[in-house]
């Protein structure tokens, strides 16, 4: 499946932890309840220090923002195991985070939920790309392009995690591949599961 994500960038730096992505007081919202899922989007990245990030990711009073791709430095998503973090970003309209590196659980949760593509850059791009820049992420060519300057950066391949996110997350992928039965049937993982399921950690 060819996949190009195009839109405005929102740029952050190193060690953006899950408390900055979705502050702990909003964890009372349960992501599987649709109206609470939507509310989570409104709080995405609202824990960023205001002096360093004067432009809000989500405009006050809204649940979705104008930024399709978040650009980050090292260790994006460190801290807690809360799945609310990729979910809040996904609910806010973020389709991909391109970072120098990711914390393990955030990466895994992004893949399992299918909320967004956690893509690693090969260089430090958070110093070059500016918030608001129109950019294009090509998941097949493994490139990230700034449209105005036509500057192109290389990104790493998502490998086995890609088809899981393409499918919409762990369960959709497992179902599509026949590893678990169709929705609504309580099913044990089949014997094939171990052989087929891709790495998502």
């Amino acid at each position: 499946m060819s996949k190009v994500i195009h839109g405005k960038a929102y740029v952050v730096r190193d060690n953006i932890d899950t408390d900055q992505i979705i502050p702990a007081q909003y964890l009372t919202l349960v992501p599987t309840i649709p109206e609470e899922y939507e509310k989570l989007g409104g709080y995405a990245l609202c824990g960023l220090p205001k002096d360093q990030y004067p432009t809000r990711y989500i405009p006050e009073g809204q649940t979705k923002g104008p930024y399709t791709i978040v650009i980050a430095g090292r260790n994006f998503g460190c801290g807690s195991s809360r799945e609310h973090a990729p979910i809040a970003l996904g609910a806010a309209g973020c389709e991909a985070v391109v970072a120098e590196s990711f914390a393990r659980i955030f990466f895994r949760n992004s893949v399992a939920t299918g909320e967004l593509y956690p893509v690693e850059s090969t260089t430090r791009i958070c110093e070059t790309i500016r918030t608001g820049d129109e950019i294009e992420l090509d998941l097949d060519a493994n490139t990230l392009k700034i449209l105005k300057s036509s500057k192109v950066f290389a990104t790493k391949s998502l490998g086995d995690a890609r088809p899981v996110i393409d499918a919409g997350g762990l369960f959709d992928f497992a179902r599509q591949s026949g590893m678990i039965q169709a929705q609504g049937n309580h099913s044990k993982a089949t014997g094939e599961l171990a052989a087929k399921e891709p790495a998502d950690d």
């Binding site: 060690n15 205001k50 807690s80 393990r104 939920t113 399921e197």
Partner: protein, 458 residues
């Protein structure tokens, strides 16, 4: 193989595994709490059907602990969602806030924050409660929807945090696909000197590798210095593996481990059988990092704002004036943490607002019965001006709803015996948190600035 590799191989039914292998492991215990439990239940029902049954009703442990003592209605509702699910599924291990299985939990703010509002089944902070209630066993695989699940590596098991979707999958299947991590070895020699605690050891190690230095990796704590540590100390250290980005932290089990685990299994009547695994000889283990640490050389250590890898020595930070001190959480709210804290505090007065939140009701009980100079430890702390609550929970360690006990509701500097200090972690976005041992937190509470506890320890 390293200890983590051995446990994962056995749980996957394989003779051996290598770092990078993706293997389906059988899960021994899956734990969730009030913050991620309702979402996990939602995923399970959405994906397996509304009438689906969990894979094993005795292998799921549910411990409400995060947002309990708050008037926030969604928080109270989330505890009720857990109770309904436990009833529906007939789950064996649920440590409810209230004792009535048909009741509803509401926190009564008019009774204040300090006096106990929970029933007899409540267990407090999950990572402290899991071993106390007999759910940690050497050689097993423990997964839970919380990043500090790595605490249980103290008992020689593979323990790591997962998200709701993964946990929902485990609810239905009892399995999860995990990548075998590379292992970093932290070889401990020597013993801790006066004024230095397990918290200083792990803050030192995290400072050494950085707050992402162990990302995707296992941290294996080994050597004579590791063997000399008590179980509580090992828990404090393993708890913070995640603060270096680690997938898990692990200690080799020994007689201390077995005595601790067996006593709690017996007291609680949980599953008694387990098969411990031990470290292979050095030539049979491969590490991506292998470093010796002489524990006798360590000094009281602080992780400064804004991340747990920002290491300094307490003695270098005397100029940092503080507004608040806090002791509690899964890493710093155990009985031994409070006893160390009280050893410094006793007979003195705190100079800044100081909050104490025991991790579990058992810790409350210990502190209200153990004596120090003829008084209970609880009295000693209260007389020094520490605001002690009986309502054991995660409390302000992660901020939480605005009425959470001890939460930093305005910009301030706080020294804390907790485990994480990214911006906004304990509440206000512009507050700053400095992580330190119970000794250092106590010494700093007395002086009002960051203080090396060796200056005040008699």
């Amino acid at each position: 193989m390293t200890l983590t590799e051995k446990i994962m191989a056995r749980a996957a039914g394989k003779k051996s595994v290598q770092p990078g292998d993706n293997v389906w492991v059988n899960v021994d215990i899956l734990m969730t709490h009030d913050v991620c439990g309702p979402g996990t239940i939602g995923v399970f029902k959405r994906e397996f059907g509304k009438d689906a049954k969990v894979w094993d009703r005795e292998k799921i442990v549910i411990i409400p602990d995060h947002y309990i003592f708050t008037v926030d209605s969604k928080s109270n509702r989330n505890v009720d969602i857990l109770r309904d699910f436990v009833k529906e599924q007939g789950l064996k291990y649920f440590y409810d806030v209230i004792d009535d299985p048909n009741g509803h939990w509401t926190f009564d703010a008019s009774k204040g924050q300090l006096k106990r509002q929970y029933g007899n089944s409540f267990a407090g902070v999950c990572h402290t409660a899991l071993p106390a209630k007999g759910h940690t066993r050497p050689g097993e695989v423990l997964l839970a929807t919380d990043s500090h699940t790595c605490t249980a590596g103290a008992f020689g098991e593979f323990a790591t945090g997962i998200g709701n979707t993964d946990a929902g999958f485990v609810f239905g299947t009892g399995k999860l696909l995990l990548k075998v991590p590379e292992t970093m070895r932290f070889w401990f020699e020597g013993s801790l000197q006066k004024g230095v605690m397990a918290k200083d050891v792990i803050l030192h190690c995290i400072g050494d590798v950085g707050s992402d230095g162990a990302t995707y990796r296992a941290m294996q704590f080994q050597g004579p210095g590791a063997k000399a540590l008590q179980m509580d100390d090992r828990m404090t250290i393993a708890n913070m593996a995640i603060e270096a980005g680690g997938k898990n932290g692990i200690f080799e089990p020994d007689d201390k481990t077995f005595a601790y685990v067996d006593a709690r299994i017996k007291a609680n009547g949980t599953k008694a059988k387990y098969d411990a695994l031990f470290c292979d000889s050095n030539d049979k283990q491969t590490f991506v990092y292998d470093k010796k640490f002489d524990l006798s050389k360590l000094e009281p250590t602080v992780a400064c704002h804004p991340n747990p890898g920002n290491r300094k020595l307490a003695k270098e930070l005397g100029s940092v004036q503080l507004d608040r001190a806090y002791i509690g959480s899964c890493t710093g709210g155990k009985t031994s943490d409070f006893l160390a804290f009280a050893q410094v505090i006793k007979g003195r007065k705190v100079k800044i607002d100081t909050f104490g939140v025991p991790a579990t009701p058992d810790v409350v009980h210990d502190l209200q019965t153990a004596k120090m100079n003829g008084k209970t430890v609880w009295q000693v702390l209260e007389e020094a001006g520490v605001q002690m609550t009986e309502n054991a929970s995660c409390a302000a360690c992660l901020g939480g709803p605005n009425d959470t006990f001890g939460r930093l509701n305005k910009p301030m500097k706080c020294i804390s015996a907790t485990n994480r200090n990214f911006p906004g972690r304990m509440g206000h976005l512009e507050s700053q948190v400095f992580l330190a041992s119970p000794y250092t937190v106590a010494a700093s509470a007395i002086t009002g600035h960051i203080t090396d506890p060796r200056e005040v320890l008699g």
